[in-house]
Protein backbone atom coordinates (compact mmCIF):
# COMPACT_ATOMS: atom_id res chain seq x y z
CA UNK A 1 0.00 0.00 0.00
CA UNK A 2 1.43 3.37 -0.94
CA UNK A 3 2.06 5.85 1.81
CA UNK A 4 1.48 9.52 1.26
CA UNK A 5 3.02 12.42 3.13
CA UNK A 6 1.28 13.12 6.42
CA UNK A 7 -1.19 15.94 5.68
CA UNK A 8 -0.10 17.97 8.67
CA UNK A 9 3.30 18.47 7.06
CA UNK A 10 2.27 21.27 4.73
CA UNK A 11 0.58 23.17 7.54
CA UNK A 12 3.64 22.76 9.73
CA UNK A 13 5.88 23.86 6.87
CA UNK A 14 3.67 26.90 6.33
CA UNK A 15 3.80 27.89 9.98
CA UNK A 16 7.58 27.61 9.90
CA UNK A 17 7.69 29.76 6.76
CA UNK A 18 5.30 32.41 8.08
CA UNK A 19 7.96 35.01 8.99
CA UNK A 20 9.46 34.82 5.50
CA UNK A 21 6.08 34.87 3.78
CA UNK A 22 4.97 37.88 5.84
CA UNK A 23 8.19 39.67 4.94
CA UNK A 24 7.60 39.04 1.25
CA UNK A 25 3.94 40.03 1.52
CA UNK A 26 4.99 43.30 3.13
CA UNK A 27 6.80 44.22 -0.10
CA UNK A 28 3.46 43.86 -1.91
CA UNK A 29 1.03 45.36 0.60
CA UNK A 30 0.33 48.82 2.01
CA UNK A 31 0.45 47.70 5.66
CA UNK A 32 1.40 44.78 7.88
CA UNK A 33 -2.30 43.97 8.38
CA UNK A 34 -2.79 43.77 4.62
CA UNK A 35 0.37 41.65 4.33
CA UNK A 36 -0.98 39.24 6.93
CA UNK A 37 -4.21 39.05 4.93
CA UNK A 38 -2.27 38.11 1.79
CA UNK A 39 -0.33 35.45 3.68
CA UNK A 40 -3.48 34.03 5.26
CA UNK A 41 -5.29 33.69 1.92
CA UNK A 42 -2.23 32.29 0.15
CA UNK A 43 -1.64 29.69 2.88
CA UNK A 44 -5.27 28.58 2.93
CA UNK A 45 -5.13 28.14 -0.83
CA UNK A 46 -1.92 26.16 -0.54
CA UNK A 47 -3.51 23.90 2.08
CA UNK A 48 -6.65 23.31 0.04
CA UNK A 49 -4.78 22.65 -3.20
CA UNK A 50 -1.76 20.88 -1.75
CA UNK A 51 1.88 21.35 -2.60
CA UNK A 52 2.72 20.60 -6.23
CA UNK A 53 5.24 17.78 -6.46
CA UNK A 54 8.85 18.97 -6.46
CA UNK A 55 7.93 22.52 -5.45
CA UNK A 56 9.54 24.36 -2.55
CA UNK A 57 8.73 27.73 -1.01
CA UNK A 58 8.91 29.46 -4.40
CA UNK A 59 5.39 28.31 -5.16
CA UNK A 60 4.28 29.96 -1.90
CA UNK A 61 5.90 33.24 -2.89
CA UNK A 62 4.03 32.95 -6.18
CA UNK A 63 0.77 32.30 -4.33
CA UNK A 64 1.31 35.40 -2.19
CA UNK A 65 2.05 37.45 -5.30
CA UNK A 66 -1.05 36.06 -7.07
CA UNK A 67 -3.12 36.84 -3.99
CA UNK A 68 -1.92 40.45 -4.03
CA UNK A 69 -2.98 40.78 -7.67
CA UNK A 70 -6.33 39.20 -6.88
CA UNK A 71 -6.86 41.59 -3.97
CA UNK A 72 -5.99 44.49 -6.24
CA UNK A 73 -8.47 43.32 -8.88
CA UNK A 74 -11.17 43.32 -6.23
CA UNK A 75 -10.36 47.00 -5.52
CA UNK A 76 -11.04 48.93 -8.73
CA UNK A 77 -9.85 52.19 -7.15
CA UNK A 78 -6.31 50.79 -6.91
CA UNK A 79 -3.83 52.33 -9.29
CA UNK A 80 -2.72 49.71 -11.78
CA UNK A 81 0.64 51.40 -12.26
CA UNK A 82 1.44 51.19 -8.58
CA UNK A 83 1.01 47.59 -7.47
CA UNK A 84 0.59 48.57 -3.83
CA UNK A 85 -2.99 48.73 -2.68
CA UNK A 86 -3.70 52.14 -1.26
CA UNK A 87 -5.43 51.49 2.02
CA UNK A 88 -4.86 53.01 5.43
CA UNK A 89 -3.01 50.86 7.93
CA UNK A 90 -4.59 50.25 11.34
CA UNK A 91 -1.50 50.08 13.53
CA UNK A 92 1.69 52.08 13.38
CA UNK A 93 4.37 50.22 11.43
CA UNK A 94 7.67 49.34 13.05
CA UNK A 95 10.86 51.06 11.85
CA UNK A 96 11.81 48.30 9.45
CA UNK A 97 8.27 47.82 8.23
CA UNK A 98 8.11 51.56 7.46
CA UNK A 99 11.31 51.41 5.39
CA UNK A 100 9.94 48.58 3.26
CA UNK A 101 6.48 50.12 3.01
CA UNK A 102 8.00 53.38 1.73
CA UNK A 103 9.78 51.63 -1.12
CA UNK A 104 8.27 51.20 -4.54
CA UNK A 105 6.82 47.70 -4.46
CA UNK A 106 8.74 46.14 -7.33
CA UNK A 107 12.08 47.31 -5.92
CA UNK A 108 11.43 45.85 -2.47
CA UNK A 109 10.13 42.53 -3.83
CA UNK A 110 13.04 42.05 -6.23
CA UNK A 111 15.63 42.99 -3.62
CA UNK A 112 14.14 40.59 -1.09
CA UNK A 113 13.90 37.64 -3.47
CA UNK A 114 17.39 38.01 -5.01
CA UNK A 115 19.54 39.56 -2.30
CA UNK A 116 17.92 38.06 0.81
CA UNK A 117 16.18 34.86 -0.32
CA UNK A 118 19.00 34.05 -2.73
CA UNK A 119 16.85 33.35 -5.78
CA UNK A 120 18.24 33.81 -9.28
CA UNK A 121 17.09 36.60 -11.56
CA UNK A 122 15.13 34.07 -13.61
CA UNK A 123 13.36 32.59 -10.56
CA UNK A 124 12.50 36.07 -9.33
CA UNK A 125 11.24 37.07 -12.76
CA UNK A 126 9.04 33.98 -12.77
CA UNK A 127 7.51 34.73 -9.35
CA UNK A 128 6.88 38.41 -10.09
CA UNK A 129 5.96 37.84 -13.72
CA UNK A 130 8.43 40.39 -15.07
CA UNK A 131 11.43 40.11 -17.39
CA UNK A 132 14.93 39.29 -16.12
CA UNK A 133 16.05 42.65 -17.49
CA UNK A 134 13.60 44.38 -15.19
CA UNK A 135 14.78 42.26 -12.27
CA UNK A 136 18.36 43.47 -12.84
CA UNK A 137 17.24 47.07 -13.21
CA UNK A 138 14.95 47.04 -10.13
CA UNK A 139 17.64 45.35 -8.08
CA UNK A 140 20.12 48.06 -8.95
CA UNK A 141 17.58 50.75 -8.02
CA UNK A 142 16.80 49.00 -4.74
CA UNK A 143 20.50 48.91 -3.81
CA UNK A 144 20.82 52.59 -4.62
CA UNK A 145 17.71 53.25 -2.54
CA UNK A 146 19.12 51.50 0.51
CA UNK A 147 22.51 53.17 0.06
CA UNK A 148 20.85 56.59 -0.02
CA UNK A 149 21.55 58.58 3.20
CA UNK A 150 17.90 59.77 3.16
CA UNK A 151 16.79 56.19 3.81
CA UNK A 152 18.90 56.10 6.99
CA UNK A 153 17.57 59.46 8.11
CA UNK A 154 14.01 58.24 7.61
CA UNK A 155 14.89 55.22 9.75
CA UNK A 156 16.30 57.43 12.52
CA UNK A 157 13.21 59.68 12.39
CA UNK A 158 10.96 56.63 12.68
Amino acid sequence: MTQSVAPLDLRRDLVALLPRLRRFALTLAPSMEAADGLVREACLKAISKGRPEGENERFLFRLVRDQSLETMRDKPEADAADLKIKAPAKGRPTVHQAIVLDMPQALASVFLLVEVEGLSHAETADILDISTGKVASYLCDARLHFADPDTHQAERRA
Partner: protein, 274 residues
Protein backbone atom coordinates in the same frame (compact mmCIF):
# COMPACT_ATOMS: atom_id res chain seq x y z
CA UNK B 1 20.04 59.15 -5.79
CA UNK B 2 17.48 56.53 -5.10
CA UNK B 3 15.64 54.78 -7.88
CA UNK B 4 17.61 56.38 -10.65
CA UNK B 5 16.25 53.95 -13.23
CA UNK B 6 19.57 52.15 -13.36
CA UNK B 7 22.32 53.50 -15.55
CA UNK B 8 24.05 50.86 -17.65
CA UNK B 9 27.19 50.78 -15.47
CA UNK B 10 25.14 50.67 -12.26
CA UNK B 11 23.04 47.78 -13.54
CA UNK B 12 26.09 45.86 -14.76
CA UNK B 13 27.92 46.33 -11.47
CA UNK B 14 24.77 45.37 -9.60
CA UNK B 15 24.59 42.12 -11.58
CA UNK B 16 28.26 41.55 -10.74
CA UNK B 17 27.41 41.82 -7.04
CA UNK B 18 24.97 38.91 -7.11
CA UNK B 19 27.06 36.79 -9.46
CA UNK B 20 24.60 37.01 -12.32
CA UNK B 21 27.07 38.54 -14.79
CA UNK B 22 28.38 36.28 -17.55
CA UNK B 23 32.03 35.17 -17.31
CA UNK B 24 33.23 37.57 -20.02
CA UNK B 25 31.24 40.46 -18.57
CA UNK B 26 32.61 39.68 -15.11
CA UNK B 27 36.22 39.78 -16.33
CA UNK B 28 35.54 43.03 -18.15
CA UNK B 29 33.96 44.67 -15.08
CA UNK B 30 36.66 43.42 -12.70
CA UNK B 31 39.32 44.89 -14.98
CA UNK B 32 37.43 48.16 -15.06
CA UNK B 33 37.12 48.23 -11.28
CA UNK B 34 40.91 48.01 -11.04
CA UNK B 35 41.36 51.15 -13.15
CA UNK B 36 38.23 53.31 -12.91
CA UNK B 37 37.70 55.22 -9.58
CA UNK B 38 34.12 56.13 -10.60
CA UNK B 39 33.27 52.47 -11.16
CA UNK B 40 34.84 51.64 -7.77
CA UNK B 41 32.67 54.27 -6.04
CA UNK B 42 29.51 52.99 -7.73
CA UNK B 43 30.42 49.42 -6.80
CA UNK B 44 31.00 50.34 -3.16
CA UNK B 45 27.78 52.35 -3.09
CA UNK B 46 25.80 49.39 -4.43
CA UNK B 47 27.49 46.99 -1.99
CA UNK B 48 26.62 49.32 0.87
CA UNK B 49 23.00 49.36 -0.31
CA UNK B 50 22.95 45.55 -0.42
CA UNK B 51 24.32 45.28 3.07
CA UNK B 52 21.91 47.87 4.48
CA UNK B 53 18.91 46.32 2.72
CA UNK B 54 19.77 42.85 4.00
CA UNK B 55 19.93 44.19 7.55
CA UNK B 56 16.47 45.74 7.20
CA UNK B 57 14.91 42.55 5.84
CA UNK B 58 16.72 40.31 8.33
CA UNK B 59 15.44 42.45 11.19
CA UNK B 60 11.91 42.02 9.84
CA UNK B 61 12.21 38.28 10.47
CA UNK B 62 12.60 38.93 14.19
CA UNK B 63 9.16 40.49 14.44
CA UNK B 64 6.56 38.23 16.08
CA UNK B 65 3.98 36.48 13.93
CA UNK B 66 0.38 37.06 15.12
CA UNK B 67 -0.87 34.03 17.03
CA UNK B 68 -4.26 34.04 15.33
CA UNK B 69 -2.55 33.71 11.94
CA UNK B 70 -0.52 30.73 13.18
CA UNK B 71 -3.59 29.13 14.72
CA UNK B 72 -5.67 29.64 11.60
CA UNK B 73 -3.11 27.93 9.41
CA UNK B 74 -2.45 25.11 11.88
CA UNK B 75 -6.14 24.27 12.11
CA UNK B 76 -7.11 24.89 8.48
CA UNK B 77 -9.12 21.90 7.19
CA UNK B 78 -7.42 19.82 4.58
CA UNK B 79 -9.27 18.34 1.65
CA UNK B 80 -9.86 14.65 2.22
CA UNK B 81 -7.86 12.57 -0.20
CA UNK B 82 -9.47 9.66 -1.96
CA UNK B 83 -7.88 6.66 -0.32
CA UNK B 84 -8.64 3.22 -1.64
CA UNK B 85 -9.41 0.88 1.18
CA UNK B 86 -9.43 -2.86 0.72
CA UNK B 87 -12.87 -4.23 -0.01
CA UNK B 88 -14.29 -7.68 -0.42
CA UNK B 89 -13.08 -9.30 -3.57
CA UNK B 90 -15.67 -9.51 -6.28
CA UNK B 91 -15.31 -12.24 -8.86
CA UNK B 92 -16.12 -11.22 -12.37
CA UNK B 93 -19.13 -13.19 -13.66
CA UNK B 94 -19.90 -12.41 -17.26
CA UNK B 95 -23.65 -12.87 -17.89
CA UNK B 96 -23.48 -14.47 -21.30
CA UNK B 97 -25.38 -17.78 -21.01
CA UNK B 98 -25.58 -20.21 -23.84
CA UNK B 99 -29.03 -21.24 -25.17
CA UNK B 100 -28.80 -24.50 -23.21
CA UNK B 101 -27.90 -22.67 -19.96
CA UNK B 102 -30.74 -20.20 -20.49
CA UNK B 103 -33.23 -23.01 -21.07
CA UNK B 104 -32.08 -24.84 -17.93
CA UNK B 105 -32.35 -21.64 -15.88
CA UNK B 106 -35.91 -21.01 -17.16
CA UNK B 107 -36.96 -24.56 -16.29
CA UNK B 108 -35.42 -24.26 -12.84
CA UNK B 109 -37.20 -20.95 -12.22
CA UNK B 110 -40.50 -22.46 -13.37
CA UNK B 111 -40.14 -25.39 -10.98
CA UNK B 112 -39.09 -23.13 -8.10
CA UNK B 113 -41.89 -20.65 -8.77
CA UNK B 114 -44.45 -23.43 -8.98
CA UNK B 115 -43.22 -24.96 -5.73
CA UNK B 116 -43.26 -21.64 -3.97
CA UNK B 117 -46.77 -20.88 -5.20
CA UNK B 118 -48.01 -24.27 -4.00
CA UNK B 119 -46.49 -23.71 -0.58
CA UNK B 120 -47.99 -20.25 -0.24
CA UNK B 121 -51.36 -21.59 -1.24
CA UNK B 122 -51.40 -24.05 1.65
CA UNK B 123 -53.04 -22.90 4.92
CA UNK B 124 -50.31 -21.87 7.29
CA UNK B 125 -50.03 -23.97 10.38
CA UNK B 126 -47.26 -21.94 11.81
CA UNK B 127 -47.93 -19.20 14.30
CA UNK B 128 -46.30 -15.82 14.14
CA UNK B 129 -42.53 -15.92 14.61
CA UNK B 130 -41.02 -13.81 17.31
CA UNK B 131 -39.58 -10.62 15.82
CA UNK B 132 -35.84 -10.72 15.13
CA UNK B 133 -33.99 -7.72 16.41
CA UNK B 134 -32.54 -5.67 13.60
CA UNK B 135 -29.01 -5.00 14.71
CA UNK B 136 -28.10 -3.21 11.47
CA UNK B 137 -26.61 0.12 12.37
CA UNK B 138 -26.88 -0.58 16.12
CA UNK B 139 -23.25 -1.49 16.42
CA UNK B 140 -22.20 1.78 14.80
CA UNK B 141 -24.29 3.66 17.36
CA UNK B 142 -22.60 1.61 20.07
CA UNK B 143 -19.16 2.40 18.67
CA UNK B 144 -19.88 6.14 18.52
CA UNK B 145 -21.26 6.14 22.06
CA UNK B 146 -18.30 4.08 23.30
CA UNK B 147 -15.78 6.39 21.62
CA UNK B 148 -17.47 9.45 23.08
CA UNK B 149 -17.29 8.03 26.60
CA UNK B 150 -13.89 6.38 26.67
CA UNK B 151 -11.92 9.10 24.86
CA UNK B 152 -12.68 11.79 27.47
CA UNK B 153 -10.54 10.78 30.43
CA UNK B 154 -7.26 10.47 28.57
CA UNK B 155 -5.49 8.97 31.59
CA UNK B 156 -7.62 5.82 31.38
CA UNK B 157 -7.66 5.16 27.68
CA UNK B 158 -6.91 1.45 27.71
CA UNK B 159 -7.77 -1.62 29.74
CA UNK B 160 -4.52 -3.31 28.82
CA UNK B 161 -1.52 -1.00 28.30
CA UNK B 162 0.64 -0.96 25.17
CA UNK B 163 3.48 -2.65 27.04
CA UNK B 164 1.45 -5.90 27.25
CA UNK B 165 1.20 -6.32 23.48
CA UNK B 166 1.38 -10.13 23.62
CA UNK B 167 -1.41 -10.24 26.20
CA UNK B 168 -3.47 -7.82 24.09
CA UNK B 169 -3.25 -10.03 21.02
CA UNK B 170 -4.12 -13.17 23.00
CA UNK B 171 -6.99 -11.48 24.84
CA UNK B 172 -8.66 -9.89 21.83
CA UNK B 173 -8.13 -12.95 19.62
CA UNK B 174 -9.80 -15.17 22.22
CA UNK B 175 -12.78 -12.84 22.58
CA UNK B 176 -13.34 -11.61 19.05
CA UNK B 177 -12.03 -14.53 17.02
CA UNK B 178 -10.08 -12.09 14.86
CA UNK B 179 -6.42 -12.78 14.23
CA UNK B 180 -4.53 -9.51 14.00
CA UNK B 181 -1.26 -7.65 14.48
CA UNK B 182 -0.90 -4.36 16.32
CA UNK B 183 -0.10 -1.84 13.58
CA UNK B 184 2.76 0.57 14.16
CA UNK B 185 1.24 3.92 13.14
CA UNK B 186 4.09 6.09 14.40
CA UNK B 187 4.68 7.14 10.78
CA UNK B 188 1.28 8.82 10.98
CA UNK B 189 2.18 10.53 14.23
CA UNK B 190 0.20 8.07 16.40
CA UNK B 191 1.33 6.40 19.60
CA UNK B 192 -0.17 3.07 20.61
CA UNK B 193 -1.67 3.32 24.11
CA UNK B 194 -3.23 -0.11 24.62
CA UNK B 195 -6.42 -2.04 24.00
CA UNK B 196 -10.01 -2.35 25.11
CA UNK B 197 -12.77 -4.88 24.54
CA UNK B 198 -16.44 -3.99 24.39
CA UNK B 199 -19.69 -5.22 22.89
CA UNK B 200 -21.36 -3.44 19.98
CA UNK B 201 -24.54 -4.71 18.34
CA UNK B 202 -24.29 -7.87 20.42
CA UNK B 203 -20.82 -8.79 19.19
CA UNK B 204 -17.43 -8.42 20.90
CA UNK B 205 -15.31 -5.71 19.33
CA UNK B 206 -11.54 -5.42 19.72
CA UNK B 207 -10.30 -1.89 20.15
CA UNK B 208 -6.70 -0.68 19.73
CA UNK B 209 -6.24 2.82 21.14
CA UNK B 210 -3.84 5.39 19.69
CA UNK B 211 -3.18 9.05 20.45
CA UNK B 212 -1.72 11.79 18.26
CA UNK B 213 0.75 14.48 19.26
CA UNK B 214 -2.18 16.92 19.28
CA UNK B 215 -3.97 14.79 21.90
CA UNK B 216 -6.55 13.30 19.53
CA UNK B 217 -7.70 9.80 20.42
CA UNK B 218 -7.88 7.46 17.45
CA UNK B 219 -9.38 3.98 17.71
CA UNK B 220 -8.80 0.98 15.46
CA UNK B 221 -11.67 -1.48 15.93
CA UNK B 222 -12.46 -4.89 14.50
CA UNK B 223 -15.05 -7.64 14.74
CA UNK B 224 -16.10 -10.71 12.84
CA UNK B 225 -18.19 -9.95 9.75
CA UNK B 226 -21.95 -10.00 10.12
CA UNK B 227 -24.25 -10.66 7.19
CA UNK B 228 -26.19 -7.50 8.05
CA UNK B 229 -23.12 -5.23 8.17
CA UNK B 230 -23.50 -1.95 6.35
CA UNK B 231 -21.13 -1.47 3.46
CA UNK B 232 -20.20 2.02 4.59
CA UNK B 233 -16.64 3.27 4.15
CA UNK B 234 -16.87 6.74 5.68
CA UNK B 235 -19.40 8.10 8.10
CA UNK B 236 -19.56 11.16 10.33
CA UNK B 237 -21.89 11.16 13.32
CA UNK B 238 -21.97 14.36 15.34
CA UNK B 239 -18.28 15.22 15.57
CA UNK B 240 -17.01 11.66 15.30
CA UNK B 241 -15.75 10.17 12.05
CA UNK B 242 -15.68 6.48 11.20
CA UNK B 243 -13.94 4.82 8.27
CA UNK B 244 -14.40 1.14 7.60
CA UNK B 245 -13.14 -1.60 5.37
CA UNK B 246 -13.61 -5.34 5.24
CA UNK B 247 -11.58 -8.45 4.74
CA UNK B 248 -13.38 -11.71 3.88
CA UNK B 249 -13.87 -12.44 7.60
CA UNK B 250 -13.48 -9.18 9.50
CA UNK B 251 -14.85 -5.65 9.54
CA UNK B 252 -12.40 -2.93 10.60
CA UNK B 253 -13.17 0.63 11.63
CA UNK B 254 -10.97 3.61 12.35
CA UNK B 255 -12.74 6.08 14.61
CA UNK B 256 -11.66 9.56 15.66
CA UNK B 257 -12.75 13.17 15.81
CA UNK B 258 -14.10 14.41 12.49
CA UNK B 259 -11.53 17.21 12.63
CA UNK B 260 -8.71 14.65 12.31
CA UNK B 261 -7.63 15.46 8.76
CA UNK B 262 -5.53 12.35 8.29
CA UNK B 263 -8.07 9.73 9.36
CA UNK B 264 -8.33 8.32 5.86
CA UNK B 265 -4.58 7.94 5.62
CA UNK B 266 -4.46 6.26 9.00
CA UNK B 267 -7.13 3.82 7.83
CA UNK B 268 -5.20 3.09 4.66
CA UNK B 269 -1.99 2.50 6.61
CA UNK B 270 -3.69 0.35 9.25
CA UNK B 271 -5.38 -1.73 6.57
CA UNK B 272 -2.00 -2.73 5.24
CA UNK B 273 -0.52 -3.56 8.63
CA UNK B 274 -3.17 -5.16 10.83
Amino acid sequence: MAASGGEALHVRLSALLDGQAAAEERQDLEARLQEDPHAQRVHEHLARGSSRGREVFNDLLKEPVPLDLVREIKTAPQPRKAVRLPSERRFPFPLKPTARQAGTACLLLFVLGGGLGYMLGQPSAATAHPPVADTRGDWLNDIVAHYRVFSRPTDRLAELPATDSAAIVEWLLANTGVNFRIPDLSGNGLTFQGARLFVAGGTPVGHLVYTSAEGEVIGLLFRKNHPDDDGFSELIRDSIALMSWKSPTTTYIVVGPSSAASLDEIAAKAAGLI
